[in-house]
């Protein structure tokens, strides 16, 4: 034995066992780490509300308006000597304010100042009037937003509850979890009113919030804020005309398009871009899967895999089977093994879905992926598949009837003796290509023939389609020359037994 073989044998025969305590200890420690990882991941994937809402210009202004609210609500409830009041305690006592209006001049980075008027009715309604004439109405209770464009007479309903809930939660979080520290920064006269200035800071937060309040009424007169967006760009705002508990017209907060406005429902630009990105990633996954299938078929005599599980890790990374748009699904894609002969337009892969939505990505045999918006179109494509299958099945049944008739004719000429094999049927009785099953043209002998035993019973199975595995069913021919499509394999096997019973 060669040294290498000897060592190899020794290594292969080497074995080790661990006690259950060892396994438990290692697994327990590993599971603790896994739990930590889950928590870390969960924290990391918490939506960054600020980033989300700061994506669009309109959102920036509205978001700034939301943050301004938090300062108002806090300062409104100061009473007496502000410096003696713990800010957090005051925040916790906020219960009564029901409406709030204010005007803000917001200066986003590298842009001109924008005047925004905001109105709030607790607990769910918010209306932001933007400088370009648009009005954004948010109903946090319903998780919906309505953008009214008075210039173009357009009303756009945003069906993005997460986003509006995000704004609402921001508001709520600020109110319910205040951790500001307050320091007095001096006095200043604003519009003839003597005010006291307070600077609000929070942890290592670099954002600056200064509130100028009337010490007589404990109401804020002016609020100055300097905050940074996620790119570090500075946004400044100055808020004035602050009024609490004014009577407000509820109709200003209705999520209905005014008369004469065109109305449509859309996602926000941010949601659209996220959806598009996920859709493109999913299409990329599907292309990889299709490529892996094609390579598999090349290595397996043009046979596509029975399922996606057959694609080895060498051909396909496991996470490719996850649809980025629906990561919670273990199998993000539905695979249909293509029927032969393969036509390029056969649907072989599509995104798993519970409801239709905007559309789905669909993959074809030739490796290309299309996004199909209309469900009816997708169904037609799938229906085409079924039609092709059905046509082939019918053609095959006709072939089988021809073969059976040829057999019967043969028997008449040979003292009721059926042919020993289909090759006995001369070309005069049967065209050569009749023996080819249109559903499996690659098979030389598409049909299995069983010479009937005598006395011949009409229900004897004498012919059936050759098959490697049972799929939808097969065509079966009987001694009386009728052909039947049998779906269940058990029924077919039962029919095969009939001649024995007859005998």
């Amino acid at each position: 034995m060669k040294p290498a073989d000897r060592i190899n044998e020794l290594i292969n025969k080497s074995d080790v066992t661990t006690s259950s305590d060892t396994d438990k200890r290692i697994l327990a420690d590993a599971l603790v780490q896994l739990e930590k990882l889950k928590q870390k991941k969960s924290a990391a994937t918490q939506p960054n509300i600020w980033r989300t809402i700061m994506k669009s210009r309109i959102s920036k202004l509205a978001a700034a308006a939301v943050i301004i609210i938090t300062v108002f609500v806090g300062i409104h409830y100061f009473s007496g000597s502000i410096e003696n009041v713990a800010f957090a305690d005051v925040m916790q006592n906020i219960q009564n304010a029901r409406t709030l209006t204010y005007r803000s001049v917001i200066t986003p980075a590298d842009q001109d100042p924008q005047v925004v008027k905001t109105t709030v009715i607790e607990p769910h309604l918010m209306r932001v009037e933007l400088p370009d004439g648009k009005v954004w109405i948010l109903d946090h209770g319903q998780g919906k937003g309505l953008i009214l464009d008075s210039k173009n007479k357009q009303a756009v309903m945003s069906s993005t509850p997460q986003k509006t809930l995000g704004l609402y939660d921001t508001f709520r979080d600020f109110r319910n979890n205040p951790d500001f520290s307050v320091s007095q920064i001096g006095q200043r006269t604003i519009d003839g009113v003597q005010t006291v200035g307070f600077q609000l800071t929070r942890g290592n937060d670099e954002n600056v919030r200064i509130v100028w309040a009337n010490p007589q009424t404990s109401l804020p007169i002016r609020i100055e804020q300097t905050v940074k967006d996620e790119n570090g760009r500075v946004i400044k705002s100055v808020t004035t005309n602050i009024v609490f508990d004014a009577e407000l017209d509820q109709s200003l907060f209705r999520l209905n398009a005014p008369e004469g406005y065109t109305h449509r429902v859309v996602d926000g630009p941010h949601e659209r871009s996220i959806k598009l990105t996920k859709r493109m990633k999913s299409a990329s996954n599907m292309k990889q899967i299709l490529l892996a299938c094609i390579m598999y078929a090349q290595d397996n005599k043009d046979q596509w895999p029975d399922s996606l599980q057959d694609l080895t890790p060498r051909r396909l990374a496991g996470d490719t089977l996850i649809n980025p748009g629906q990561p919670e699904r273990e199998n993000g894609y539905i695979y249909i093994k293509p029927s032969t002969p393969i036509s390029p337009q056969q649907v072989v892969l599509y995104e798993a879905h519970d409801s239709w939505g905007d559309g789905i990505n669909v993959g074809f045999v030739d490796g290309h992926v299309e996004f199909i918006e209309k469900e009816s179109m997708f169904k037609n494509r799938l229906e085409d598949e079924r039609t092709v299958k059905l046509t082939k099945r019918m053609k095959s049944a006709k072939n089988m009837q021809k073969i059976l008739l040829a057999c019967i004719t043969y028997a008449k000429d040979h003292e009721d003796q059926w042919p020993d094999g289909l090759q006995d049927l001369t070309p005069r009785r049967l065209a050569g290509d009749t023996l080819i099953n249109p559903g499996q043209p690659e098979r030389e002998n598409g049909y299995i023939y069983i010479k009937p035993s005598t006395p011949i019973s009409p229900q004897q199975v004498v012919l059936y389609e050759a098959h490697d595995s049972w799929a939808d069913g097969i065509n079966v021919g009987y001694a009386d020359a009728h052909v039947q499509f049998i779906k269940e394999e058990s029924n077919f096997k039962s029919d095969l037994q009939k001649p024995t019973k007859a005998r």
Binding site: P3, A4, R6, I7, N8, L10, I11, K13, S14, D15, V16, T17, T18, S19, D21, T22, D23, R25, I26, L27, D29, A30, L31, Q33, L34, E35, L37, K38, K40, K41, Q309, L311, T312, P313, L316, A317, G318, D319, L321, I322
Partner: protein, 178 residues
């Protein structure tokens, strides 16, 4: 495919998937560690550390080859570090004898069969570099090119170490069998 899915499930926090990976590969990894270190406790520690590191790195982990190959390379790297530490301790503290049992008492939690005892005993007489190449080649089915890459040496060096190691191992085993 199974490993890819298991890793994916682990990434999503599935304890079952983690357990499946552990049970699937623990024996191979322990045999490898034993062959490297000839020390049950140290081998068990290596297995423990490799699994913990694997879980800790799951966030960034992307399986490009086989999971078995990956874990075995981790065991090799971890065992190498343990071996270096052992060498350092034996020189610095003159505690070579006591280090054999590492920080634990002799343990019954890991039980090696006769072949493994023979293998690890013989391997212990080889230079560590040669042990590594022989085991990674035979047990992890790694090519010399892959081994050379993982160890930062040339392919020829890897092959030479393998050849010399094999020859020496043959002599040691002959001696043992006499």
């Amino acid at each position: 495919m199974e490993d890819k899915l298991l890793v994916l499930k682990c990434k999503r926090g599935s304890p079952d998937a983690l357990e499946r990976i552990y049970l699937k590969y623990k024996t191979d990894l322990l045999v490898l560690a034993m062959a490297f270190l000839n020390d049950k406790s140290a081998a068990e520690d290596v297995l423990h550390d490799v699994f913990l590191s694997f879980v800790q790195s799951l966030g960034k982990f992307r399986l490009t080859g086989t999971l078995k190959g990956y874990l075995m390379t981790c065991v090799a790297n971890r065992a190498r570090n343990t071996n270096k530490a052992k060498h350092h301790l034996s020189v610095g503290l003159e505690a070579a004898e006591s280090f054999g049992s590492h920080s634990h008492e002799p343990t019954n939690s890991v039980i090696c069969n006769e072949n493994l005892q023979k293998l690890s005993g013989a391997m212990a007489q080889l230079p560590y570099e040669q042990r590594e190449i022989i085991m990674l080649h035979f047990k992890a089915a790694m090519t010399f090119k892959a081994i050379a890459k993982s160890q930062g040496i040339s392919v020829n060096t890897a092959k030479s170490r393998y050849r010399y190691g094999l020859e020496k191992l043959r002599l040691i085993l002959d001696e043992v069998e006499k």
